[in-house]
Symmetry: C2
Subunit: 146 residues, 2 copies
């Protein structure tokens, strides 16, 4: 169930996505929240780092683990502007994160296209938070690229 803080944190993820956009990266951003505190932020850096693994979620997961000093994010929620891909969903699975909240769907590369349940069995997943704003950023980016 979506709660009233979800839009607040998704706006922070959108700020990260806009930061990616400013660097000519696919505009996807993520934040990780633990007990009401933002403990990690990330945005897509695949072009900047020449690294296909440098997605927003991967940056945020690594950063949150460093902050917590542990591998498991069982008390955390990840907010990401676009449905995670298979790689990021797999990483979130390993992290045993409590909750994943995403903005817009990604019918082409989102994990749903490939499998239904990549997460830990206790992980709660919600999609569609500020979906229009999240999708609009992506559409703007790819329109400029054409």
């Amino acid at each position: 169930m979506i709660n009233r803080d979800d839009e607040k944190y998704m706006r922070l993820a959108l700020q990260e996505a806009q930061e990616a956009m400013r660097h000519d990266e696919v505009p996807i951003g993520a934040v990780i929240v633990s007990q009401g505190h933002v403990i990690a932020r990330g945005h897509n850096l695949t072009e900047t780092l020449t690294d296909v693994t440098a997605h927003a979620e991967m940056q945020a997961i690594t950063s949150a683990q460093t902050y917590l000093g542990g591998k498991y994010l069982t008390q955390c929620t990840l907010y990401v502007t676009v449905e995670p891909c298979l790689m990021c969903a797999g990483a979130l699975g390993w992290s045993q994160i409590a909750r994943v909240v995403y903005g817009c769907d990604d019918p082409k590369r989102g994990y749903h296209t490939y499998c239904q349940q990549p997460f830990h069995k206790k992980t709660v997943v919600e999609g569609g938070v500020l979906a229009e704003q999240c999708a609009a950023l992506m559409q703007d980016f790819f329109k400029k690229k054409r």
Copy 2:
């Protein structure tokens, strides 16, 4: 089709797995080969780095991209001692790698348990190269942990 060099490169991946074992990491190793040259090596570092994303394949992919100065591994083969998980399979998908050769199956966390086709449509996949040696290392490790 498995070729005569596959066992040679899988032995190098096994050396990486043994290196992981020496550091009390789950013993999985990987190498990436391009045009007959080993351009990247990696082994599992999840405990050392306190990072669920630090799998052997992820280390090797990032390293190969740095070596090549590009994001796409379309001329490369990845050798890994154990069937890739969903995260690593997703990363290999983004890299558009030409070929993935793995040792033993991982019925619990291998990508096959979750989805059938996480790779680029041109990627060729082979399993079962030196599978017994690859599996034996894993069994030794988990036996000691019990």
